[in-house]
Symmetry: C2
């Protein structure tokens, strides 16, 4: 078994044993070294965003003191869900290795795959309002542009 | 202006003034009452996941002591990015009002929209490995099924 994936599995198994959340672990690696590792803590933290990948990415950012993890590789015990793909994209991680896929996690009643179906979310439940006011925020942000590096 | 959107805007403007991150605010409402509000804190927290929506949802979960925010409504100063859509889906929020759209935020160099283009992420950079081991995690999780409510 891949040595980094093995660490992700150990995290996942630890999380299960502690009843912290689902059977998911993640490891961030840079230049052959583990930068961070984490397991799913949704139940422990009562936080639907506390997926292993999210927790590992947040830890890696703190450790490397940057929000740009370009050059890092993510190992995940299962294929990252749509939310985690978004986090991976924002953190600029390109390389991802995963073990289980959505068919595997579906056996445990995780319904990530269905998220794709209504991902555009442009249905009856989403509505754009007050668009004319957004210029206020654009102007406020632009007036600080030289101070805010984002 | 919608009164809840106005609160989201105030959060966004506060965040800009403090240089905490982008011009984004979010409010979670239930039964006509504000449950939580937040602004983007990516720069403050050095955390690429600290979008207004994510912070507001995490706060609301803590406040209501649940990971299921079904029945809540989200107000966001701009259209939630793919990551935030995932968080919204996991938190089971259905109703979303937003002000600016991706065309507006693109003016500020936020590239959310491009995330959709490679969202499936099934390119050269993603690889499934060690799939045969995933049954280990399925079995470990299932053996705890009655203890872990997830």
């Amino acid at each position: 078994m891949d040595r980094f994936m093995e660490i992700a599995y150990k995290e996942a198994l630890y999380g299960i044993s502690k009843k912290h959340g689902g059977p998911f672990g993640a490891v961030i690696v840079k230049d052959g070294k583990v930068i961070s590792k984490a397991h799913n803590q949704v139940l422990l933290k009562n936080d639907p965003t506390a997926h292993a990948e999210v927790v590992a990415i947040r830890k890696a950012c703190r450790k490397l003191n940057t929000i740009d993890l370009g050059g890092c590789t993510l190992y995940a015990s299962a294929k990252p869900c749509p939310m985690c793909i978004g986090v991976i994209q924002w953190s600029r991680i390109k390389d991802v290795f995963f073990s289980g896929d959505y068919e595997d996690t579906k056996k445990l009643n995780f319904d990530d795959q269905s998220f794709y179906e209504d991902f555009e979310a442009e249905d009856d439940h989403w509505e754009q309002i007050d668009e004319e006011h957004f210029d206020t925020l654009i102007q406020a942000f632009e007036s600080c542009k030289n101070d805010i590096k984002y």
